[in-house]
């Protein structure tokens, strides 16, 4: 039977919801589904994974026990697991970590990898992804012994497929890495990562200054949204570049994208055009975004956002 593995990412002790979408992408082939997990997370993830159709959960360790975070070590250990179990197809997320690990695995195996896929066909070895920052879409075929795909977070929804998974340990043999991870410095943990958020509320020129972004953070909290920004707001120094959505920032696919005081340049759209629903709040009815969205609110964001925050707080308590 054909075997397909999904590289699992964890966040706060749970399987990242976006990984479940990647697992659903693996369902279309009637393959035996493996989940590869690291660092003692197998037990915590087993229930979620078997509820989504995973047959075997492989926890990867090394001769020295759980492998601490080091992208080079994780990639090499992952490869050993693929080879041991004779798995030729690997899916993961095109998240920051997924891009890092999948690219390393692909490079070390000299294997074909399509990154940021919105759809895959594992029997045909094809994948669909955006090109030219969302201005075109292309279909690719991977050719070779291995087939690797990084799925765009949120591009596919999770499909429950209850079953029973076996938990197994795999011990990799690792040499000293040429990369030395000195420290991982935690960011602001209460903030949701842009690329994996269901809702993003973004601010642009209309925010006027750095302090005004606080109203977006306050509005984001009760709906567990991430806060983004346009290039104008980043270049003006109001917020950090890590929040930038667009061509030279992050590409996001939330279920809802709320653009506040953003005119909607081609470059901004390149980063968010695949959002499920785009909502624009802008004083200028002629702003480009007001014609390229699903809901247009022609009003002052400083009136609307606080009102929205109040309503959301009432609902979520």
């Amino acid at each position: 039977m054909k075997r397909v593995a999904v590289l699992i990412e964890m966040k706060d002790g749970k399987v990242k919801p976006a990984c479940l979408g990647a697992i659903s992408a693996a369902h279309d082939s009637d393959a035996e589904l493996f989940a590869l997990v690291f660092k003692g997370t197998a037990a915590a993830s087993l229930e979620t994974l078997q509820a989504h159709g995973i047959d075997r959960v492989i926890e990867i360790t090394s001769q020295d026990g759980p492998i601490q975070w080091n992208a080079d070590h994780w990639a090499r250990a992952g490869i050993q697991a693929l080879q041991y179990y004779n798995i030729k197809t690997l899916l993961g997320l095109a998240s920051v970590q997924g891009k890092n690990l999948l690219s390393r695995i692909a490079a070390l195996l000299e294997a074909p990898l399509v990154m940021d896929c919105t759809a895959v066909n594992l029997s045909e070895h094809t994948a669909v992804k955006s090109q030219f920052s969302g201005r075109a879409v292309a279909e690719f075929k991977t050719r070779g012994e291995y087939h690797l795909y990084g799925m765009r977070p949120n591009a596919l929804s999770a499909v429950p497929s209850p079953g029973k998974a076996i938990l197994e340990m795999f011990q990799a043999v690792l040499e000293k890495s040429k990369l030395r991870v000195l420290e991982v410095q935690q960011g602001l943990s209460d903030r949701v990562d842009l690329t994996e958020a269901d809702i993003i509320i973004s601010g642009g020129r209309g925010m006027e200054n750095s302090d005004n972004f606080d109203i977006l953070f306050e509005c984001a909290r009760p709906m567990s949204a991430a806060v983004g920004a346009s290039r104008v707001a980043v270049d003006a120094g109001w917020v950090s570049h890590t929040m930038q959505v667009g061509q030279t920032g992050k590409t996001v696919s939330p279920k809802v994208y709320i653009a506040c005081g953003i005119s909607g340049s081609v470059q901004h759209f390149a980063g968010m055009k695949t959002a499920g629903i785009i909502m624009a709040i802008n004083l200028d009815p002629d702003a480009a975004i007001m014609h390229k969205c699903d809901y247009a609110v022609c009003a002052n964001l400083f009136d609307i956002i606080p009102a929205l925050t109040r309503k959301l707080k009432e609902i979520t308590g």
Binding site: W69, S95, V96, Q97, N100, S103, A106, A107, L108, E110, P112, L113, M115, D116, S130, Q131, F132, S133, R135, A136, A138, E139, F140, K141, T142, R143, G144, Y146, K178, L179, R180, V181, L182, E183, V184, Q185, L188, S189, E196, D198, M223, S240, T242, T248, T251, V256, S265, V266, Q267, K273, I277, H291, K292, D294, V297, A307, L308, R310, L312, T316
Partner: protein, 257 residues
């Protein structure tokens, strides 16, 4: 010290992409240096300034027109450039093989900088394949860089603002993130000087690269015409907020309450 910077000539981020009948894009548009590669060039030039004897060499794989991007890199401070000429497009495995061969033919690299991604193909992996070809360590999404003797310290951006501090020895490959630096824009004298700087052209076929056993092949491409038809939400601030909540809850189903 040899500092190589791999750059890519890409369609302007504002250009309209039209796909022709042969699945190639209409190239009658402006091309620029890939934005993240500007950060890579900038960091290479900064490092050169701190070092006594260093050369910055810009390298690209592309058509003859890619010379413009190499000239831009030289205007930003690169000393010379190598253009590996090829008319066809390449996946990241064969691009990395070509860049690796061109670099190794030229000299021994101490550091290779490149942008963390290209804005046209968005493959995110050429620097990893290049590092594997050169058999050196690699990091991507670097936002801070420092070098002491042969030890490199980099800070890489991870998820949700987390930062990873990494140490490695040269030679190595570094994928530059946007926050690594603020690229300085060349002044006219620099642009004029760049025209006279040495540029070596190599035909890809002269590098004698073996065809990789695996590859990613594009089988179809089309431009996206995404149309959305806006529904206007009107009323007082409270009414508008109610409607937004309704959309979030009923249409998008993203609210729990």
């Amino acid at each position: 010290m040899n500092i190589y910077v791999c750059v890519k000539h890409v369609p302007d981020t504002a250009a309209t992409i039209r796909i022709g009948t042969d699945d190639c894009i209409d190239e009658n548009i402006t091309f620029i240096m890939n934005p993240y590669d500007e950060n890579a060039v900038e960091e290479a030039v900064r490092l050169k300034k701190q070092t006594i004897d260093a050369d910055v060499i810009a390298v690209t794989l592309g058509k003859g027109t890619a010379e413009a991007t190499l000239r831009s890199a030289m205007a930003m401070g690169a000393d010379r450039a190598i253009l590996v000429k090829s008319k066809s497009s390449h996946d990241s495995i064969s691009t990395a093989r070509a860049l690796c061969a061109a670099i190794q033919r030229d000299g021994d690299p101490d550091i290779v900088f490149t942008g963390k991604e290209s804005v046209d193909n968005e493959g995110f992996q050429t620097m990893f394949h290049l590092a594997a070809c050169l058999d050196v360590p690699v990091v991507s999404n670097a936002v801070k860089f420092a070098m002491t003797d042969t030890t490199i310290r980099v800070t890489c951006e991870m998820e949700a603002g987390d930062l990873e501090h990494i140490e490695m020895e040269t030679p190595c490959v570094i994928g530059a993130g946007k926050d690594l630096n603020q690229p300085s824009y060349p002044k006219l004298p620099d642009i004029l000087k760049a025209r006279k700087k040495p540029l070596t052209e190599i035909e890809l076929s002269d590098l004698g690269i073996a065809t990789p056993a695996s590859r990613v092949e594009m089988i179809k491409i089309e431009s996206i015409k995404e149309e959305r038809y806006p529904e206007i939400i009107d009323g007082t601030a409270d009414e508008i907020a109610d409607t937004i909540v309704h959309v979030l809850r009923e249409k998008a189903k993203v609210l729990d309450g």
